[in-house]
């Protein structure tokens, strides 16, 4: 499984740096965060890097949006009307604009627009089918990836997930871009049904022979390697590590100065530097030190002095997070279903041991602590194994 870089605020330099350091990679471009002319320049520069791919997320989740940057894009419907905008002529115009923009940007595949499904209704499914069918008839060379954008309520409703998968059996697409709203705006989602149903969707699509790119992810979605997801996408701030639809509806001010969080990959948790100070004071800071394979971005924190006196700058913290996630994503997928599941369970077990010991010392990641999430992940894995395990096991190498 790969990590794609989800473009967001302040991502330009991170993309350049990380793609160079990884000798290639994929960036998912975000019209919410970049005006068209700047995006074009950025794309032109990124394409100069070897083995670099670009995807463009049209972010048409809420087409009535007043988001200034989004609305300025040429493809954005100026007078959106639910019935009219999806009629063939209007749909064709919309898709033509998106295809042209993708051509200018040099995208390697085309992410098709998709509405946010507050529920998986017949109307929503009809629009999904219409977009895919019309796009397929327009004869572009790149692969077409429909967007499946789901609200938290839709994801938590197992009947709706079943309905989606039933419908998807008849869609003929080589891949899908799946974006999922987090319940109650949680960063780490403390609901096993949410995780389990996302795994179920991903596995169902994979078993239909299509790729799955999971957008707007945190490290919680490393679990999706167990459903043989092809790539997870992540970025800097929380609004690209989760999918908050309201962020596509109206412009938000640039992120203000806020706490810097250090990601401890072996604990799957993030910590404010003040907690690192406490760890330093009581002599357990080294337990949080990432292994060398995670790139050494955060090594200075462990060089001796009190962490806050060194200060982990926000850009370094982001690079450390994304590089760690890149390494973890690549190593999450194994040669068989059982090995992949075992590997993830071992990751959880190790994290649990570490977090248990850190908690005894008073070191906690607060709302970014993974301890309560571990059982959520275990439950989701158990459900995946029970419902789809034998078939995933059987088809794993072909997925």
């Amino acid at each position: 499984m790969k990590l794609y870089l989800q473009f967001g605020h302040g991502m330009m330099e991170h993309c350049r740096h990380l793609i160079q350091s990884w000798n290639g990679g994929t960036v998912v471009l975000s019209p919410r965060d970049l005006e068209e002319s700047r995006m074009q320049k950025f794309a032109d520069r990124m394409r100069d890097f070897p083995d670099t791919s670009l995807l463009f997320d049209p972010q048409l989740y809420l087409p009535r949006s007043n988001h200034e940057t989004l609305c300025a894009y040429s493809y954005w419907p100026s007078n959106y009307s639910t019935g009219v905008s999806w009629e063939v002529a209007n749909l064709r115009t919309l898709l033509s604009e998106i295809f042209d923009l993708n051509a200018r940007l040099g995208s390697d595949a085309i992410i098709l627009p998709g509405l946010l499904a507050s529920e998986v209704s017949d109307d929503w499914l009809d629009i999904q089918s219409a977009i895919l069918n019309e796009a397929a008839m327009m004869g572009v060379q790149q692969e077409l990836y429909p967007t499946i954008a789901l609200s938290d309520a839709a994801i938590l409703n197992t009947d709706q997930i079943s309905k989606l998968l039933e419908a998807a059996e008849s869609w003929d697409a080589p891949g899908y871009y799946l974006v999922c709203q987090h319940p109650r705006g949680e960063y780490l989602v403390n609901n096993p049904v949410w995780v389990s149903n996302i795994l179920d969707i991903a596995a169902g699509i994979k078993l239909n022979g299509a790729k799955v790119i999971l957008g707007y992810c945190s490290h919680q979605m490393l679990i999706s390697a167990c459903a043989k997801v092809d790539a997870i996408c992540s970025g800097t701030f929380l609004n690209v590590r989760s999918f908050p639809p309201e962020k596509f509806s109206r412009a938000e001010s640039d992120p203000k100065q806020r706490s810097t969080w250090f990601y401890c990959p072996q604990g799957l948790s993030e910590y404010k530097d003040s907690f690192l100070d406490i760890a330093h004071r009581i002599g357990v800071l080294d337990d949080l030190r990432p292994e060398e394979k995670f790139g050494g971005y955060a090594n200075r924190l462990f060089s001796g002095p009190q962490p806050t006196t060194i200060g982990l700058k926000e850009p370094v913290a982001f690079r450390h997070y994304l590089n760690s996630l890149h390494v973890q994503a690549l190593s999450a997928e194994k040669a068989s279903f059982d090995e992949t599941v075992n590997c993830y369970e071992e990751t959880l077990n190790r994290a649990e041991d570490l977090l248990s010991s850190l908690h005894q010392s008073g070191i906690r990641g607060q709302q970014r602590d993974f301890r309560d999430i571990i059982d959520v992940q275990r439950a989701a894995i158990a459900a995946l194994v029970a419902t789809r395990g034998p078939i995933l096991r059987r088809h794993w190498s072909a997925l």
Binding site: S162, A386, P390
Partner: protein, 282 residues
């Protein structure tokens, strides 16, 4: 429906050794010897059965064309005291219904595997003909004296390319509780395909291996059985002789959601052949 055997001999003069085999609410079955086809059964269907559904049954058997489904050699209408009766002249499988066999003891694992393979041969053919049997269960499977298996009774088969004969708005779909999957007894017509038969086959194989249908265990209440099918899962097959791969196979066939089952009977058949092949290597 009472049938006078002498009258019957008069209506079917070519048949010899006519003898009554069984009688149900809707049909009477006789065994006989046919000069052209050898051992046959003659089925007389009660006139209350809609002619179109009887015709669909005949059509289903004709289109499935499987060695695991007894052929219909001839058919027609005969006038009786209770009205015109449809009749079928079918290939006779000499043996015993599987439900009778299982009443004595479960099958050895080698025969459970054989049962699975042979029923899937029939279901693959049905799938190719766009037909869903909708009533796979031990009572509709005949075990021959050679210990081969045949699938009988396409009486409620669904032809996916023809309009449904049953009420699509009815609350309950035609089925045998404890074998039919939720989408069938909930009468979700758009979701009926060969995966409904795979569910029923999974339950049948479990019962063949253990002698028990867990959905029926300790209850005679049909609604309770339907509730169990909808709300619980079949226990994992844990008999000593069952390979883990076969237990996985049964679990997958009997998933409540059809998108969690194998996509087709063909896929299930291929999978089971691989399991059988592996078991023979051990």
């Amino acid at each position: 429906m009472n049938v006078d055997i002498d009258w019957l001999r008069g209506e079917f003069p070519k048949l010899r050794n006519l003898a009554k085999l069984s009688q149900g609410g809707q049909k009477v079955v006789f065994t006989a010897l046919d000069p052209q086809h050898g051992h046959v059964v003659l089925k007389l269907i009660h006139p209350s059965q809609a002619q179109e559904s009887v015709e669909r049954e005949r059509l289903a058997v004709d289109q499935v064309k499987s060695a695991r489904v007894p052929r219909i050699f001839d058919y027609g209408l005969v006038s009786t005291q209770v009205g015109p009766c449809y009749w079928f002249l079918e290939e006779r499988v000499t043996g015993e219904p599987l439900n009778e066999v299982l009443r004595r003891a479960p099958l050895p694992m080698s025969e459970v595997l054989k049962l699975g393979v042979q029923m899937l041969e029939a279901l693959v053919k049905a799938e190719e003909a766009n037909i869903v049997h909708r009533d796979v269960k031990p009572a509709n499977i005949m075990m021959s004296v050679d210990r081969d298996f045949s699938l009988l009774d396409f009486g409620i088969a669904r032809h996916l390319t023809l309009a449904a004969l049953t009420d699509v708005s009815a609350r309950w779909g035609k089925c045998t509780p404890g074998y039919a999957p939720p989408e069938q007894f909930r009468n979700v017509q758009t979701e009926i395909d060969s995966r409904a038969d795979l569910f029923a086959l999974g339950v049948t194989l479990y019962e063949a291996a253990t002698g028990v249908n867990p959905f029926w265990k300790d209850t005679g209440d049909q609604l309770e059985v339907l509730r169990r099918v909808e709300k619980t899962v079949l226990p994992r097959l844990e008999t000593a002789a069952a390979q883990p791969e076969f237990a996985d196979f049964i679990s997958t066939l009997t998933q409540r959601r059809r998108d969690h089952r194998p996509k087709t009977a063909f896929e299930a058949h291929t999978w089971l052949l691989e399991i059988v092949s592996e078991s023979q290597k051990r």
